[in-house]
């Protein structure tokens, strides 16, 4: 079922939590709401669920599930499944009773027979690979298992849309990875429309068909993960989607200088800030005529496909992070305290916003 939000806004008292938002989510899509805390992503999700009411003034917004206008429909009648960060399982009920809850509270005439409920609950438990734990109580399960129970419970009522609020936020890295993969698979099997909230860029980019990046109650960009990563619309999106190195300085006649470092750039005169991803930094033993960025290696983490190297210099306000191939790492015989020269393979700049930032600093 598709979801359409029109002009949804939210104030808490006098604070603006969500600027008027329009959003279209297609049927069968898995959409991630990504943003730092306080960006309004959870508020937006809770409004879709009906756990929070959107502002009614100046004009009421609209929420449509398919053709059904659910703006004024109570959460219990919206036909949503909601998964909470801290699972919110019913602790006094067994796993089986938790999953069966949504079915047993249906009005008598819609309620499936008890045999049917049993069959459906076990099918769901099988799907989340927990059928052997049906009689256990939530406190006897690990975090990952509890979250799977909570997912099965949400899916039991065959919701039109599945909403997940930081579903893996309380779990440790390894379990999170497993559950992510498993949710992705479940989604492609069952093909429900789902929206999930996360503050973890990797999670959003890995899981989503499309990512909605939010900050300060505003949608910054909506795009597929690769588009988002390769062509961020603004500086916030760029910085939020990965590690960023900053190079600040003044451009004079095509040379950007910053302390004793300089770099030839094809830019007009004035203050500039260039942004580089860690993989866009190359390291060498010698500077060149057009690029002189002396750095000192301060930390090395050789775990994974690439070596992560932390670089410091007196012309840098914040240390840089560079990723180096293992071959280069060995060729340069890198060690802590070593003096090297950085070369940008590529850089990014968001001039308008940098200007705006400049102006606010002066004012």
């Amino acid at each position: 079922m598709s979801i359409r939000l029109q002009n949804i806004a939210k104030h808490f008292g006098k604070t603006l939590a969500l600027e008027p938002v329009n959003l279209d989510i297609h049927e069968g899509e898995l959409v991630g709401l990504l943003g730092p805390s306080g960006s309004g992503k959870t508020t937006l999700l809770r409004i879709i669920a009906g756990l929070e009411n959107a502002d009614r003034s100046p004009e009421p917004g609209k929420i449509l599930f398919g053709d059904r206008d659910v703006s004024n429909v109570h959460v219990r009648d919206r036909r949503i499944g909601f998964v909470f960060q801290h699972y919110a399982l019913f602790r006094h009920m067994s796993v089986y009773d938790n999953v069966a809850f949504g079915l047993t509270v249906m009005p008598k005439k819609e309620r499936p027979s008890s045999g049917e409920i049993r069959a459906r609950v076990f099918r769901l438990l099988e799907m989340v690979q927990l059928e052997h734990l049906a009689k256990r109580y939530p406190a006897q399960l690990s975090g990952g298992q509890q979250q799977r129970v909570s997912l099965a419970r949400a899916l039991a009522v065959k919701p039109d849309v599945l909403l997940l609020d930081e579903p893996f936020g309380a779990l440790d890295a390894k379990v999170r990875q497993d559950l992510r993969r498993w949710l992705r698979r479940l989604h492609s099997e069952l093909n429900f429309t789902s929206v999930f909230v996360t503050h973890d860029q990797e999670e959003a980019l890995e899981l989503s068909d499309r990512v909605v990046v939010m900050s300060n109650g505003r949608i910054e960009q909506i795009d597929a993960p690769d588009t988002l990563y390769h062509s961020p619309k603004n500086r916030f999106v760029f910085e939020f989607l990965g590690d960023v190195n900053h190079l600040e300085g003044n451009v004079n006649n095509g040379v950007l200088t910053c302390g004793d470092a300089y770099l030839h750039v094809d830019l007009p005169n004035g203050a500039e800030e260039l942004l580089l991803r860690p993989h866009e930094v190359r390291l060498a033993e010698q500077p060149s005529d057009t690029c002189h960025l002396p750095v000192v290696v301060t930390a090395i983490s050789p775990v994974g496909a690439e070596v992560r190297v932390e670089l410091e210099a007196n012309w840098l306000a914040k240390p840089w992070l560079a990723t180096v191939r293992h071959a280069d790492f060995e060729r340069l015989e890198m060690r802590r305290g070593q003096h090297l020269y950085a070369y940008p393979r590529q850089w990014h700049r968001f001039k308008d916003e940098a200007l705006a930032a400049e102006q606010t600093r002066v004012a």
């Binding site: 756990l51 959460v75 019913f90 909570s150 949400a154």
Partner: protein, 283 residues
């Protein structure tokens, strides 16, 4: 033996066990155990037959009925309204909330005799409430309704103060989860919220009941104290004491003590079983 070994084993990291445990035991002995021992000392002056005769005397048995009946009614009233008060205090924000919260402890702080005199004046035929109720044929003062009322007044904090923290611990997410699964408010309350509150509510109600069994000051002014009708057990003990019949007073007191202890123990065992299940035991 193994417990003692475990408690005093030299693997303990937290210091001060010997001293703090010693002081605790001494305090409990002085304040709790010594008076109870004194009570049993008095009882030793009686033969079993004498003891039985005292505690089954008609007037005394009538006082049990009045006390237990009124305490049960008071406890049930408190269970309902105490739960409601705790709910209001935890779940809603309103002006004067802090004041209402503080007011809950008033029955603990107020001397019970003050409460008793106030209630008796209010509900007597000439009092503000009595003047309204008596023409309707509803007499409160000097009947067991008055006794129940006084008991309810002195024991309401037990219910509120035991339910309140448990309700605060129950995350709102749990209600939200129930609602998102289609549960109506009533179903969510009955099947999701109440099961969590049961142990606390039963404990609070039980404490209120036990407290009411022993209440004296608040009740005697409003009870009317008519033999066989509105005499409470605590008054019987008092009467015996005034007659210098210490053994008789102790005998009646021991009955109240045994009933109270048995009830408290039963509540604790039952509650422990429930809590174990919530925390992952094999309940």
């Amino acid at each position: 033996m193994s417990l003692a070994l475990r408690l005093t084993g030299n693997t303990r990291v937290l210091p001060g066990f010997g001293l703090s445990m010693g002081i605790s035991v001494l305090f409990i002995s002085l304040v709790l155990l010594l008076p109870i021992t004194g009570l049993f000392g008095q009882l030793s002056n009686l033969s079993l037959a004498q003891y039985w005769a005292i505690i089954t005397e008609g007037r005394i048995v009538a006082s049990y009925t009045v006390t237990i009946g009124a305490a049960a009614v008071a406890a049930l009233i408190n269970a309902v309204f105490g739960l409601l008060l705790a709910w209001v205090l935890v779940r809603y924000e309103f002006p004067g909330k802090r004041l209402l919260d503080a007011l809950m402890d008033l029955p603990f702080a107020l001397p019970t005799a003050v409460a008793g005199i106030t209630l008796a004046t209010l509900y007597a035929g000439s009092g503000w409430m009595g003047r309204l109720l008596e023409p309707l044929g509803f007499q409160v003062a000097y009947t067991w309704v008055g006794i129940a009322l006084a008991m309810a007044f002195t024991s309401i904090p037990f219910v509120v103060r035991t339910v309140q923290p448990v309700l605060e611990d129950l995350p709102a997410e749990v209600d939200e989860a129930a609602m998102s699964l289609g549960a109506t408010d009533g179903v969510a309350f009955r099947r999701v919220i109440m099961p969590h509150l049961w142990p606390a509510l039963v404990t609070g109600t039980g404490l209120a009941f036990v407290r009411s069994l022993g209440e004296f000051g608040a009740i005697i002014f409003i009870a009317g104290n008519m033999p066989y009708e509105t005499e409470i057990t605590a008054l019987m003990i008092f009467v015996k004491l005034q007659e210098y019949d210490y053994a008789g007073a102790s005998a009646i007191a021991s009955v109240v003590l045994f009933v109270s202890l048995a009830l408290l123990l039963a509540i604790n065992v039952w509650q422990g079983r429930f809590v174990r299940r919530l925390h992952g035991g094999k309940g």
